[in-house]
Homo-oligomer: 200 residues x 2
DNA sequence: CTCGCTTGCAAGTGCGCGCTCACTTTAGAT
DNA sequence: ATCTAAAGTGAGCGCGCACTTGCAAGCGAG
């Protein structure tokens, strides 16, 4: 055994959360057993329970991390003035972010997490809703200045935005991460932009 | 115990497949244990294994049932001449079909099924691909006669078609089936249609 | 230095899962 | 009526899981 390195709970929680996200990315939510997570975090299984009350708390922590990452993605474009460019940057950054963290879609869209556990589902729902509304605001801004089609429902455009990403990711996951997600980003974006920009 | 009703393997396989789909709809793939499936099918757990070699075969059977249902949905519109109307009917029927069979999205888009098991993933992938290409053909037909935007990639339009449905379903699942999925169908379709029809 | 609190670990414990097995019941063929 | 193959059963097995426990060791406060 390597030398014991004593760390504070705060540090360990962060390590465990990141380890969990990584394991979920590799093996799915089911594959993310407490043994696997502990091993990925470089600590013993028992030690997990010093820093988290149970596995559910670990998953909650993962969801919260994802939420704050998404907030950061949205926040990064507030300075950009053109709404369409905001959307483009967000679109591509979202795909890039997911490509680097496969665990994210596997957590957020895991039926298992969602169906089985009321608390986790509520958390995921809030995270998605928050992101959805962030996008929707940009869309409405775009409609106000006449760049985006004003005859379309902002809700519908937002659904299409996320839906397009969502399905692209799903397909990418199902094809063992090939081709690269970001390789498709440009084409996907161009087509989406054409679909929702003003037509008259 | 109720009276023992002896049935042929063929009948039982069908019953078990439908029971499995129903249980998955209620409790997710993880909740669909052999005990639950057997109970929903009204037979003993041991008897499951008279008709299927193992649980994986049951899930395979479920996937195949979904595949043939989707084929039926696509086949139902071959007689319709207008491509846009074909898409509209398929769109609405797809949502209606899912609303009546929650187990379908939970099977098809279950990360667990997909990640963990190579065979199942291949099967699901083929099913989605088959459906995708069915839609894509209609889209290309629509582009050929100039109803759908010819400057957009048919692949992208198809992705948007399925992505829109996919996300709507995901959101509906996360909100405990409210509001009714088919209530949104009209609005979703109208916006999608505006997005992809010809603009010049 | 040593006390006390927290971090760390290895070896459990109990439980639910997929699956098996020894045996019984059923129904059609002879 | 009798025989046989298949359908049906429920007890139970082994395994992997989340989680616990008893004890060792690090570290700051006095």
């Amino acid at each position: 055994m390597a030398k014991r390195m004593r760390e504070t709970t705060e540090v360990r929680q962060k390590q465990i959360t990141e380890a969990a996200l990584q394991v979920i990315g590799q093996k799915g939510i089911n594959g993310a057993t407490t043994v696997e997570i502990a091993s990925a975090a470089g600590i013993s299984e028992g030690n997990l329970y010093r820093h988290f009350r149970n596995k559910e708390e670990i998953i909650k922590s993962v969801i919260d991390k994802i939420g704050s990452d998404l907030v950061a993605i949205l926040a990064a474009v507030v300075e950009v003035s053109a709404p369409l460019q905001k959307l483009e940057i967000t679109f591509k950054r979202h795909l890039k972010y997911i490509e680097g963290n496969v665990g994210i879609p596997r957590t957020i869209f895991s039926e298992e997490t969602i169906v089985a556990n009321e608390n986790l589902r509520a958390r995921v729902k809030n995270t998605i809703l928050m992101y959805f509304q962030g996008i929707k605001q940009i869309v409405e801004q775009g409609q106000r200045i006449g760049v985006l089609d004003t005859e379309m429902d902002s809700q519908a455009i937002t659904s299409m935005f996320i839906g397009t990403i969502h399905f692209a990711v799903t397909w990418w996951l199902m094809n063992n991460f090939s081709p690269k997600l970001t390789d498709d980003a440009e084409g996907l974006w161009k087509n989406f932009a054409r679909a929702v920009t003003h037509k008259d």
